[in-house]
Amino acid sequence: MAVNAKTLNETEFFYGHKACAGCGGSLAVRIALKVLGENAVAVLPAGCMSAVGFNFPQLCFGNNAIISTFAGTASMLTGIEAGLRAQGITDFHAVGFAGDGGTADIGLQALSGAIDRNDDILYICYDNEAYMNTGIQKSSLTPFGAKTTTTPAGKNIRGNLRPKKNMFEIVAAHGIPYAATASVGYINDFMRKVEKAKQIKGTKYIHILAPCPTGWGIKTDDTIEIAKEVVDCGLWYLAEYENGEFKLNYKPEEFSSVGDYLKKQSRFRHLTDEDIKVIQSSRDAKWEFIHRNFK
């Protein structure tokens, strides 16, 4: 039976943390740990979730958890998995929770190495689209047009000039046993994917979009709606990669307005109609690709 609100493990494993109110990343961590259960051994690199969860003596993980170096999420997971297995322990889940910068920038090499070795780990990227912990600086997963503290929106440059790095397909290109995209706006879909990853041997990667009210410029109670809307307007998608094939999990009948999605967030408020058209056409190109290549 699919895991849902009623069947989900009632124990909270990530509790009392100091994440900002309405934090999407903390919801992703919380839910994933509830699906994985008490034998999850979690690795969190320097970043939001370690900064809010590990301030001695306020320690907010009920399960085993450790902070890794910023670049070392995947390599530390590898060591934990190998170390436990070498001692004959097998009933655990080594899981990493890294942000977009920790995954797509500084941690990409170690992640690639782990997938290459097909280490039996689950790597979850909570993507809030910038270095939020250090004060909203651009990462390679910051979307085109977004204003961050290092991509200011001024007269000459209107925010970030580059599109989001395509982590899902980069990871899939390694021939990974399982990869998926998700959004905290569709939490049941995320739970199903974590549950599925839990059963698969080898490296698993889940990329979950997790809005940050502070960095995106939305109200704290808008996190879930905006995380739904980004999927509904087609700027993000819910998909899986397995056995060498891409599969789309959810196809909106008709896309909701990209402009409406963008204009709700202060990081995009400077965008012109022209900018929005550019974003819309890159969305359409992406979906053409999806229709051609995803089942």
């Binding site: 993980f61 170096t69 190998a82 070498a86 070795r117």
Partner: protein, 396 residues
Amino acid sequence: MAKRFLSGNEAFALGVRLARPQVISAYPITPQTIVVEKLSEYVEDGSLKAEFIHVESEHSALSCAMGASSVGARAFTATSSQGLLYMTECLPYAAGGRFPIVMMNANRSTALPWNIYGDQRDSVSQLDSGWIQAYAENAQEALDIALMSFYIAEHPIVSTPFMANLDGFVLTHTYEVADVPTIEQADEFLPPYRTKNKMSLSEPKNLAFSAGPESNTIFKLKEHLGVLNARTVISEAEQRFGKIFGRHYTGLTESYRTEDADYILITLGSISGLVREITDKLRAEGKKAGLLRIRYLRPFPNEEIAAAIRNAKAAAVLEKDISFGNEGTVYTNVNSALQKAGINIPTSDYIGGLGGKNISAEEIEGIFAELEEEKRTVKFLGTGGEESGSQCKNAQ
């Protein structure tokens, strides 16, 4: 025990095999490669039961070793030079986490200019990282340190990572006869790793956390005490080792004919063999020469150095490193030890062997001759430049 003809790297790899590490993560770099090649062969042929992880960088090598150690597994890695520098972030991390990882470092010059040969600038630059640092003189000592390092690092009052240094090529690639202990003897010497500093399913923990200003100094003090505690544990390990294997070591330093020596040369690593020969030659000529070999740079042998030097007329340090803009770091440390002990004799510093440059017998004799002048100088050996006072003239 069996006698075998071994290179330093091979001897060290055999020592590591005897220690039964559970996880080995390593990335290749000259001149360390043979250690990890050998260990991968041992895993392949079944003579070592360990997880061998082919990491994609040195940063990941040590990060992976920390992961293994954080769940209570015995972990080993090896590196050199640029690789050591590439993993630099992980060095104080492993020490601060109190993960007793053992790492072999093949001492090699650091770029620029590029150079693959041996000097000790790589490891000496990491003295403040919180690791125990040992320097082997020969293949036998390399093998023995490999085995002893796990005992020392993992001891509960130490719980500190251990860097075992072997001079690149001169030691790592030079063949000598060494005794290889049996696995039964090794098992008698080294118990399995047991710790409370780990994540376990029955007793979940949060590890490697943040500690603010209120507690940070206490964590750092405890880390410092862990390294200092290695002093007594090294001596305990060596006594135990001597009983089982019949080979005896002398703690943080080894004194050679220092008791009545007027002039003492302090050095570390493989060059000590030649200095010992020169000492004997000078003694035969009636000159009161002595050698003090530093075996451990951390914990630093303050008391041992003071005790060995106390009655000398002058002392010099011969080292393969330089802290640019100051002097050799070993020299700085030695002078600190002497000053604290109230010993005020002239000391000099000789920087040699950089980038694998040969240090000749004549040069060592020259150092002893200059010692008789009882001056205080810092010199780069073999550069043709002369120097006096505390400043080096050769900089321009």
